[in-house]
Symmetry: D2
Amino acid sequence: MTGQDRADGSVVSGHFMNPLEDTQSQQDTRQVPIQRVGIRGLRYPVTLLCPGGAAVPTVVSATLLASLDASERGTHMSRFATLMHEYRDHIDPRHLLEMAAKLRASLKAETAQIILTFPWFVEKVAPITGQPGMVDYEVTWDVTVSDAVPRFLTSVVVPIATVCPCSKAISERGAHNQRGELTLTLASAAPPWLDDVIRIAEASASCELYSVLKRPDEKFVTERAYDSPSFVEDVVRQAALGLRALPGIQAFRAQAENFESIHSHNAFAMVEEGW
Amino acid sequence: MTGQDRADGSVVSGHFMNPLEDTQSQQDTRQVPIQRVGIRGLRYPVTLLCPGGAAVPTVVSATLLASLDASERGTHMSRFATLMHEYRDHIDPRHLLEMAAKLRASLKAETAQIILTFPWFVEKVAPITGQPGMVDYEVTWDVTVSDAVPRFLTSVVVPIATVCPCSKAISERGAHNQRGELTLTLASAAPPWLDDVIRIAEASASCELYSVLKRPDEKFVTERAYDSPSFVEDVVRQAALGLRALPGIQAFRAQAENFESIHSHNAFAMVEEGW
Amino acid sequence: MTGQDRADGSVVSGHFMNPLEDTQSQQDTRQVPIQRVGIRGLRYPVTLLCPGGAAVPTVVSATLLASLDASERGTHMSRFATLMHEYRDHIDPRHLLEMAAKLRASLKAETAQIILTFPWFVEKVAPITGQPGMVDYEVTWDVTVSDAVPRFLTSVVVPIATVCPCSKAISERGAHNQRGELTLTLASAAPPWLDDVIRIAEASASCELYSVLKRPDEKFVTERAYDSPSFVEDVVRQAALGLRALPGIQAFRAQAENFESIHSHNAFAMVEEGW
Amino acid sequence: MTGQDRADGSVVSGHFMNPLEDTQSQQDTRQVPIQRVGIRGLRYPVTLLCPGGAAVPTVVSATLLASLDASERGTHMSRFATLMHEYRDHIDPRHLLEMAAKLRASLKAETAQIILTFPWFVEKVAPITGQPGMVDYEVTWDVTVSDAVPRFLTSVVVPIATVCPCSKAISERGAHNQRGELTLTLASAAPPWLDDVIRIAEASASCELYSVLKRPDEKFVTERAYDSPSFVEDVVRQAALGLRALPGIQAFRAQAENFESIHSHNAFAMVEEGW
């Protein structure tokens, strides 16, 4: 399904004599405004422009949406993918706002929204041996523009380790622990840099994760995690304290999910403020 | 991670001499209330009690959650799974409300929420030959109880076929079409029966889907779909008209996603009212 | 896409005057035999017939396939789903062989294969308090019939806990541990019962998992796991010893994947014999 | 779980007085050789070195494995991630072979295997208007080294469109069609370039897919697909003919899966030769 961006499609091609019928521009009489219409699951190679000036390549999964008046039958689907193509080499929060504003203007829509999800990598060194390795986080930027103030949401999924305080307290030796994921979502006028959000998340767990750990490092992270046991409830509370202290935050949500090593189901906790 | 439901754990087992430390019941001084804590991804075999009296087995993926006061460190995790075990043989909207109320009372929580997602099957006969086959839908029941009126959400994912009206109008022969998914979510005091929601969804598409189609049936569905072309926007608008007419509906959302046969990304549209 | 199972489609319906063209039965001149063709991702409600006589409902994801001679253009797709419909109330290894044989005969195919994947639940009691709860496993039955002896594969995914022996040995306190999955796949003339395979898998880990654990149980599983540290290599070796001892086994594969709590990637090991 | 790569871990850190116990290097007496052990799901940012000299960034999901003798208890897990880190800036078939050889030598293993899966993008222009857009494919490179000749497998998942020949032949108007995925896997001494494999795949379908299509383009692809109806069987046969003609191919497999627009299950076909 795709739209026709000019009044006269026949100019574009010699394959047909008459203008192609513009089905999308038909009047719609059902009186149902559409809050969002567009494309999802568009995987695209992009370059992220980082605060310090670095240009970092990654791959996004993109959702581009706009509202549609009750009177119009269809939107112009090809413009969404074209917009992604135009901006693929300079993606950052400021350009995302620009993209959404451009989409909104071009479609004469009340609202436009762009959501990009992508892996973000941080090079970490092992805590004792200093061996380097990249750790991956999943980031989502979600921007909405309308007549109101733009809304910018940043969301980061951070893998963490948690040692169960109950298991530690009641057991004569050992304590069950596991990998978990802490997802921090926050609304802010000027989005904080990703590494600042990741730092808050990793400080909320029993221990942070690494890609490369040699034996002395493994001893260190094992003992450190054991010394900082955290329920899934503790993790989201610590994250909440960290997020409250971030400058410019309007609202946040912290969600922790532990892949419990004693169950085949997960433990989950969520704190949200300011929404 | 699991809680201790009695005052004195030592009664339960001779493996230890003193009561086990009750870490979860410790005071928490961080002043961060937790909106939701509990378990996710608990897969369980259940029996659904249907309006006509039928008892239908299926498998749920369950999420059971409760709020936690700022002053308490941890919830009692074992109660969530135990509750699912107790109710596994009689699942329906009324019992879900009862489960949530029981969870809330047992944990002295402000709020309790239970979310079950499960496949639901309808036996359909092929439109011409009458050959029978089961079609699967994915259902979510999501109930929240607190001091306020309970909130009951029903969500059904319905696979559909859509023929693109633009492609049909501009092409000399054929028209691109594809499978899509229409997800209807609705809030209501007394939840409508699943088959009524499915009927609305299937009537909103170019054609409904079947598991078994012989050649005369395939001719029928091909022509029927071609005769009812629908943009993703048309699908959600038709669904909205259908949902508005359902008795007892408080709010709804219709989301259509087409696995476009001309793109590797999807087309998406959403209408919501009453939230 | 669906096949026509009778010579004359016009008998079936009055919607058309002439027999429907039988495209699938056209001659194919490309000289490319097709090893497998059929349907995948057919979700179906079924009843499993268990050795002791119990009839257990579950939901399968079904793949039904057959070979196709180089000279035939297409298979008869509707027969695959119809076969699933016929057998849905009596699924067990013997009936699966019968289904595959029937499919093969009906399509005059050299080979037919049926693969069913489904959740299987075992009620377990917590090790100290005796609290009951269902634990879920994912099972795959994969049967192939041809002129040769039928091949029957059973595969079970078992969630497990593993405590790292290295972390335990080098750390002054604690030891990292995590959830993992041990997948056992085996070829046998008479497939062993699922619970026997699960028992081998759970005995190969640091500890098995439960759905409901109260505090005394949690103490027990924590200490037990800590006392039985297992590398991912240890897990597959123990499983191999157990599988070798199963009567009637022709070949097996044991694959363990640990969701490492110190990394965001997984540890993996595989042993196979007899293929 | 991680290995110790030096004889004396105590040099690295002052956190402990004595060398850390080397659990992995313990003798194993179970007599079970391990065919593969290592890491899976390591997501890493890499640079692909392309035949023409271009350096293309992407993100891989990496699996790195080695065999382990029956006499050794554990492998050295940290070396797998370290190897990925070392080679992240120059990934191509030649370097993958080098990586695997290095891993094998460093671990004194009989066999080493490296599997990378990554999105690969091709800029395509719309067939009539020439509008540009990136289309994504999923590629897997899988290299195994041992005493024998190295085995190099290339696998590409290509999204395609298929129009059903039966539906077209029997219907008075229209024809059901859908998105599908054609996966081509091939073994070769010198792996063919990705774009050559993609070309074979796209030529085997009713029509290839695009990211950006304006109305004249949509008319073109609709009619083109309608004029080239293809069963899932036709798709894999066409692919087989194309793959047979690729120079240096030792074996191949073509698998097509159609997300049928008239069913909620998929149609599937597979041809393989030379294995």
